[in-house]
Symmetry: D2
Subunit: 324 residues, 4 copies
């Protein structure tokens, strides 16, 4: 089957609505806006919702950031504040409890490096509490961070590495940042998804990759994701459907033909996609040319949002002074 992959709950819901008109059970959607940022909260509340959406129960909050924000320092700080506000109900830890921030993905591949880039910008404090406790404000929360690499670089499942570290460090919360695939180009590098479900990898070799969630690690896991690519197969698939729909419009009069078009199935479409993307298929990514710069901006927004959220006793100015 063709895998029109999206990691965004928002898009999973859109796909569902495209394919069927039946009511979506077990899924609540709530939309609002803050500071020009469109926020969609998708709650999957039961098994029916899980099945329809292909995602586990939980809360998924999507922030869609206007394009200009990435080129405007002040607007980026506002976006970080909005992110911090969305995180607030999810970060349920006491102020002296430890948080572990994890940057998932391969730092050698630009479009996969957003997680490691965020960790570089996180205010790391846990060691200071131990080494120089008297010089550190008691309101500062102990935060630690790591980018564990990917299976091909380390030979170890990221889940194994994290489980080992979590058992030693015993954080009260894990926040994992990852690069995602979306279905629509206009969401690439402009969207942040926050969820309290952790990360459930899937597809291809990844099938036997461990989950990174509360069940696996033993502590709550907040996942923060940024779509940085659309799979080329998705572009090709959407193109095919668009062409077919256009033709269907014109061919309604010609009954035989109309039904023929309706019979072009997924197998046929998949054959065409393979033809076009040969020899790559699975590993072709579509990215804007300036992906390097925009990923840096998104990493800054997320890191600032997390820093504000994890250190409520500090202002963003305090945090910047600490970090620079």
């Amino acid at each position: 089957m063709i895998n029109i992959r999206t990691d965004l709950a928002l898009e999973a819901k859109e796909l569902y609505s495209e394919k069927t008109t039946s009511r979506l059970e077990g899924v609540n959607v709530n939309e609002f806006e803050e500071e020009d940022i469109k926020i969609t909260e998708v709650k999957i509340t039961n098994q029916a919702g899980e099945k329809a959406m292909g995602k586990p129960k939980g809360t998924y909050i999507t922030m869609e950031i206007p394009p200009f924000v990435q080129y405007d320092g002040e607007a980026m700080e506002e976006a970080a504040q909005v992110l911090a506000k969305q995180l607030e109900p999810l970060v349920k830890v006491e102020k002296n409890q430890t948080v572990l921030v994890v940057g998932l993905g391969n730092w050698n591949i630009v479009s996969d490096a957003v997680g490691p880039k965020v960790v570089e910008k996180i205010m790391i404090t846990r060691h200071l509490m131990q080494l120089v406790p008297d010089e550190i404000d008691e309101n500062i929360r102990p935060v630690c961070g790591i980018s564990p690499g990917v299976l091909g670089l380390t030979g170890m499942e990221t889940g194994e590495i994290l489980k080992g570290i979590v058992e030693k460090i015993k954080p009260s919360l894990v926040v994992a940042i990852d690069a995602l695939a979306s279905r629509k180009m206009h969401r690439v590098n402009r969207t942040i998804q926050i969820s309290n479900t952790g990360i459930s990898p899937g597809g291809g070799i990844g099938n036997n990759r461990m989950k990174i969630n509360e069940e696996a690690l033993g502590v709550p896991v907040i996942a923060i994701g940024v779509p940085t690519v659309v799979h080329a197969a998705t572009i090709a698939y959407d193109t095919i459907n668009l062409v077919l729909n256009q033709i269907k419009e014109f061919s309604k009069a010609e009954e035989n033909f109309y039904s023929f078009l309706g019979n072009i199935g997924d197998a046929e479409k998949e054959r065409m996609i393979k033809d076009i993307l040969n020899p790559y298929v699975g590993n072709l990514m579509v990215t804007p040319k300036d992906v390097d710069m925009t990923i840096e901006s998104m990493a800054k927004i997320i890191a600032n949002g997390l820093n504000i959220s994890l250190q409520p006793a500090l202002t963003l100015d305090d945090i910047n002074t600490y970090l620079s």
Copy 2:
């Protein structure tokens, strides 16, 4: 009009043959193979050929390198030897004449950085002739190199910068390495095009960019290019055509419909492409996920091929010892 962009003469010829059955005047094509590498030599010999191909008169040699080569040090050295052999008839300079190697492109964008990566690996010798002439073998050719950046980074046309340098340094030959766009995914990061025509940028803002060729610089210019991307618009365009062709096959019986399909023109296709790639269109690139590694391999092959070609008195071992 939709710009199905290709920088490869080989593909320009393929596109011509797809669109028309009339004989291609003023273009000679010659195909052969060396060490598993398919080589196509396209010679554009007159104005008719220039117009049909959209490229200036001259020789364009394309090497298509089998995929395994990039993962095999020995095969990479063989590919470099094949490249050096193709360069030989084009590099018409005496052994004591200076060659300037130029790495075009933006080093901050992985898929554009192949030129600067090659220059890093070139055996730079010109200064040694001046500083320590007695220690340097008289058979070593003076070679210098620079990666001048791109307009957005420097505020200066690359052509202006190079013209200024060429007038001071007075090389007898310029070799310019650049990243290209191809039309077919299977050529990305596996193809090297060599031409004696220099580089003629075109399209968009680039329209007023200076040419980098013998006319502009006053010395012969060999261009070496590697396609590192396919434009997403090309993927979408090819998908549309594939779908239409498939349907045409099935609809031959239904005359009205067949002619309707034939009437879907470029304007209509362009509208669909914009719809799918919104809001990016022009700046969307399709790249394999491991582009970082394969570009490094291609840069190594090209640099080695150039080093062998420019320093015929040395073995590849000598060159490697010098460089490491």
Copy 3:
């Protein structure tokens, strides 16, 4: 002779005063403070001054920045404003005249990379005036920039490259940023020297390197330098002198011995230094462990100072928005 190298006019004056008590002719020194930054203005006014200082006639302004500044975003902006103020009397160009900013040094060597790092942060505008003149505020000055590399990387004298570019681009002013060597550790990565004399390389292979000044390029050249290293030989030399001075204090009573100590000459000291630094001597640098981070801070201060100075019609906020 031992080369206790300093590129700072401030330190050349200190060295002079250490060695002799005779009045320093042709050199005026003026000290003041702005925003906790100590500023020393050294003016060399005639040939006697040139000879005593080992530097060409002109104005040398040294800013010594307090250590905390590099870890405080706001203090860094203040330092940039102070730098802009010092540059003002030196930047004598009309608002519509072009300025070329040049980053000297080898970007592959951290302690030599401050120039290229500054150029990355400069607001490049010259091309916009040409491409989209209607969208650009007429008060914006055309600025272009380049980091030409070093002789070993390009095979070309930096002076040759720059002369070629200057003849094509015809800027009204060149600003060249370079890494320097100082004599005292406490000035490393904390000091900025501005001069209107350009750059006159000297010592070792550099003897035949071209000057980068008004005489060579045909336009005024402002040099901005940051000492990023102390030569290890300087550390060893200062250590030897310190030990000898200590012992002299104690040995004044013992006349013979005191005169013996006085007779330990430079040749003897040089032998000891070579002994200690074997086998490196000339190429050993002493750097603080966190040189990577502090050089980044210094580059930010200089780039901001230059941006403010070159674009008087804009605020620093405007500039940051443009750059990010």
Copy 4:
């Protein structure tokens, strides 16, 4: 007390011999040469040896590599073979047992990055055994690798992170690569120390850093170290001693003075060193200018040596093909 730091057992022994003429108990030294590489094996056999050397019981093998090797690909491969031969008696694991390679140090600081650079070049195979067991030669050993960062970057002790990972992955051997400080410039970036004692950090804040050895991790730990810096304080200290020794030679006739010089103690020397290195002292490193390139060469030698040693069923050509 002045900390003339050396991490090399070879130098600890030299220092001991400088300070005293009494026999060194519990330490056996054995010197030989292979392929122009001088090899010194220091065995510390009992508590007396531990105390005299300031290092735990075990075997320390030091390879001193001639300077030309780093610029000669073939000589580098020979050095890797010599390293593999030294590792052989220490790597006591069955061919199907897992080895974890750990790159210690801060990848953002060039002179500290040799460990992470080695891990990048290690043949990682463990995941292939699990994902595609049928395609993998049964003689290939499962190897995994990680560079865990440093306390300041992660907020976690490296020892904690590694202990967590080791408990999950259960390797039979850990190999840890780290940058060291030596006492003599001529050993910097030319020396490799191998030991079966693991790593015992010490000095300053490091005092409470966990050991990375068999006792801490529960599996044998081989440490491989490369001295990449000499502390500036060591340079200053050695300079002081050299000056004093020179003067003592001349002052033997003057009895009073000779005894005065003998009385200049460590406290006095420390004061002078602080004076010279002010305000840095502890964090000043002396490095050759080309440290970036030579560290890359050393990382290649160590990675190749480890790859040969860990994969005895493969040739170096096989390994290079796999890695490139």
